[in-house]
């Protein structure tokens, strides 16, 4: 199943059949965990961890390894990608997004920290809480800068790794703490929330949409080639409905992203990404696409990153768009 020849062909049909096989094996593995006393040792014995499943070329290590031989130590970069074994059950992450604009006599800076904490209740199950904030500072309002809370999102993730494949799926719910009262301050608040959504290219816009709550579900699959080159596909959908203030109606949102991971050296990964968000039916343009380039540095203290998001098309980007962008700096969740 994990032969180098089939992976090398990398055809779509091959990948799909491989994915199906992996999913089936995962299901079998989970069933066997659920009923350990009844399992058939012959049928449900999970596949052993092999060099091939770790993305290691067969020439580097004997395949299959001798049963009594010590497990080979894979390269550090492959370990970081394929088998992210957490040393703790609790992990924290944070992203500081920023954007700004200058006009004669003023400079406005929008800062948006997104804090995240995750707890592993099971090797494959994470409980995650993410909560963002917005802070607008400009020299027209020194001493009275504008600060608003986003919508905290609680998510339960299931994740699994099998060979070169990594899967993650989750469902969540947000609390409608982002709020814009209709008042003379409303323009400042709307500006802040809208700028924050723009810095993310509308990705996960339900984290910032005022007076609404959401039920998001998300899925991500990654495939790692030997040498650490990896491809990821990410999709999320959410039902978003107005619950406060003037927000009314129910909308269904979708978003997809493609990401490539280029390892450079032992600990640095360059990650170009393309994402598209299907916005609410009330939106003028239904799609917002953006390009992201993120550099990730793996250290002993965690995985840190810096990146830049450029909106590509209207309404936030493009020649006639609003030319919004976002700079992102932070530390990723590592569980």
């Amino acid at each position: 199943m994990h032969s180098r020849t089939r992976r090398g062909s990398s055809g779509l049909a091959g990948s799909c059949s491989e994915l199906l096989a992996v999913l089936l094996s995962l299901t079998a593995s989970r069933l066997s965990h659920a009923q350990p006393a009844e399992r058939d040792p012959q049928a449900a014995n999970p596949a052993p961890t092999t060099a091939a499943s770790l993305g290691i070329a067969p020439n580097d290590y004997p395949y299959p390894p001798a049963l009594d031989a010590p497990a080979p130590a894979p390269p550090a970069i492959a370990l970081a990608k394929a088998v992210p074994v957490a040393s703790t059950r609790l992990s924290y992450g944070a992203v500081l997004s920023s954007s700004g604009e200058s006009e004669t006599g003023s400079t406005s800076v929008v800062l948006s920290p997104l804090l995240e904490g995750a707890y592993a209740v099971h090797p494959n199950v994470l409980l995650d809480l993410a909560w963002g904030f917005g802070w607008l500072v400009d020299n027209q309002g020194l001493g009275e800068s504008t600060f608003r809370a986003g919508n905290p999102q609680f998510t339960s993730y299931f994740h699994a790794d099998t060979g070169p494949w990594r899967f993650r799926a989750g469902v969540g719910v947000t609390a409608p703490l982002a709020h814009v009262p209709l008042s003379p301050d409303g323009r400042l608040y709307n500006f802040l929330y809208n700028q924050t959504m723009a810095m993310w290219g509308m990705w996960n816009l339900w984290l910032w949409s005022p007076d609404r709550m959401a039920l998001p579900s998300m899925f991500r699959v990654s495939y790692t080639l030997s040498g650490g080159l990896a491809f990821s596909f990410e999709e999320a959908s959410a039902v978003v409905f107005g619950v406060r203030g003037n927000a009314t109606g129910t909308e269904s949102l979708q978003q997809v992203a493609l990401e490539v991971e280029f390892p450079i050296g032992q600990s640095f990964v360059l990650r170009p990404r393309f994402q598209t968000v299907l916005m609410p039916s009330t939106s003028v343009n239904r799609f917002q696409s953006s390009a992201v380039l993120r550099g990730t540095l793996q250290t002993k203290a965690g995985r840190f990153f810096a990146g830049l998001l450029i909106n590509l098309d209207e309404p936030l980007g493009g020649a006639a768009g609003l030319e919004r962008w976002g700079f992102h700096l932070g530390k990723e969740i590592e569980l």
């Binding site: 400009d138 020299n139 323009r187 080639l225 080159l229 003028v284 768009g321």
Partner: protein, 419 residues
């Protein structure tokens, strides 16, 4: 391995190329606002001018296109509904003070609806049906465009685009401010609130027109542009049908100047903060070319005289604070020159207007006390007293004006028991 790299790079490149093609949009050009693409272009340009990002839930509002005849029918229906309302002592009071004439009294209410016409006759309706390009309805949250097939040419299209830009600013405001706010304590508060709403729309409408028509406005000369527009209003104030209508028209350029002043100092960021610190009295908007902003006070004044023989409570009496703008247009309506009227209005610190009427509305009496930070010029007293209709007394830094339609003289009293 190399093949995989090429595949990944190719995918990414194709995606970026596709997005790049998708995002290439034409620049702002003259277009027909009844067409969706034109509406969208105007909307995006508004967003860009205002420095806002994009609200995906409350974007371009629904737009309906109707014919001139359909719009005329709507106006006639509204006029018929308005005509059904019963008599109000305020209508007669406004006529007595020359804020309105009998012809335009149906639209005299200072805090009335958003339809700021100067009358409700057929001529007015015809004029409005012919010259209105679009309007925003905050209750329905939609924009209505009136198509004028008989009007052709790029100038018509340009004017229509500029109007649509103005109306779409209102749709943006509708998720920031309460456009349906009605709990105003005074007419002065209402006018001040309206100034920030219409002034904001007028200001960005001006920037839109600047981009469309290459008018040459920049951040450095935008105040001069606002002053120029205001001067046009001040000069042509006599053309308005009434002082009340003139005041309602002046909130547009006065609010626009307030925003232009902020924009000049710090662009859209300053406008956003200026928006949040809007003056709650019209005196705060009466800024002349010298840039001096009048002091906004509590607006409280001493009691006004009243007629003890008329009811002091119920439907036939009422009180209000008209504020500096209505006082200015009132003076202009009585023939006071702009410079004197404007300078005096800038010294306004408060006013109180009391209207009393008999139960059968046969007799109406009005008392209006206006206080200033400096004694009002005597030419004002002379102008107001010239026809003998008004009784005007100046006392220190206050003016007291009384008027009634009673055939016999009324006994005015300073009895504090009056409301």
């Amino acid at each position: 391995m190399r093949r995989e790299h090429r595949f990944a790079v190719s995918c990414l490149g194709l995606s970026l190329l596709a997005s790049g093609i998708a995002c290439s949009q034409p620049k702002l050009a003259v277009c027909d606002i009844t067409q969706r693409a034109c509406q969208q272009a105007v909307y995006y340009h508004d967003l860009s001018l205002r420095g806002d990002a994009y609200d995906p839930f409350d974007g371009l509002p629904p737009v309906t296109v109707i014919t001139e005849n359909e719009y005329r029918a709507q106006l006639e229906q509204a006029a018929a509904t308005a005509a059904q309302s019963g008599p109000s002592p305020w209508d007669e009071a406004m006529v007595l003070l020359h804020f309105t004439t009998n012809n335009s009294s149906a639209s005299a209410s200072a805090d009335g609806g958003t339809n700021n016409d100067g009358g409700t006759g057929n001529a007015t309706i015809d004029d409005e049906a012919t010259h209105t390009y679009a309007f925003y309805d905050s209750t329905q949250k939609n924009v209505t465009i009136i198509s004028h097939p008989s009007q052709t040419g790029s100038e018509v299209e340009e004017n229509a685009m500029i109007t649509l830009a103005h109306e779409l600013i209102h749709s943006l405001q509708d998720v920031e401010l309460n456009l349906q706010k009605s709990d105003f304590q005074t007419s002065d508060q209402y006018f001040a609130y309206d100034s920030i709403i219409e002034g904001d729309a007028r200001f960005y409408e001006t920037l839109f027109a600047n981009d469309l028509l290459d008018l040459g406005y920049t951040q450095s000369n935008i105040i001069q542009a606002a002053d120029s527009a205001l001067n046009d209003y001040y000069t042509s104030l006599g053309d308005f049908q009434s002082s009340m209508f003139a005041a309602r028209a002046l909130v547009y350029p006065l609010g626009a100047k307030y925003e232009a002043t902020a924009y000049h100092s710090g662009g859209n960021a300053a406008v956003r903060h200026g928006y949040a610190k809007e003056p709650h009295q019209m005196v705060g908007f009466l800024v002349g070319p010298d840039g001096r902003v009048p002091t906004v006070t509590s607006g409280e004044v001493s009691p006004v005289p009243c007629v003890s023989s008329l009811p002091t409570s119920g439907d036939t009496t009422g009180a209000d604070q008209f504020g500096a703008l209505l006082f200015y247009t009132f003076l202009r309506g009585w023939g006071v020159a702009h410079d004197v009227a404007f300078a005096t209005a800038q010294t306004w610190t408060g006013d109180f207007l009391l209207v009393q009427a008999s139960a059968d509305y046969a007799t109406t009496a009005v008392a209006w006390r206006i206080e200033f930070s400096a004694p009002p010029p005597t030419v004002i007293v002379q102008a107001l007293s010239a026809t003998g209709e008004l009784k005007v007394s100046a006392s220190g830094q206050a003016l007291v004006i009384t008027v009634s339609d009673s055939a016999t003289p009324l006994a005015w009293t300073a009895d504090p028991a009056c409301p």
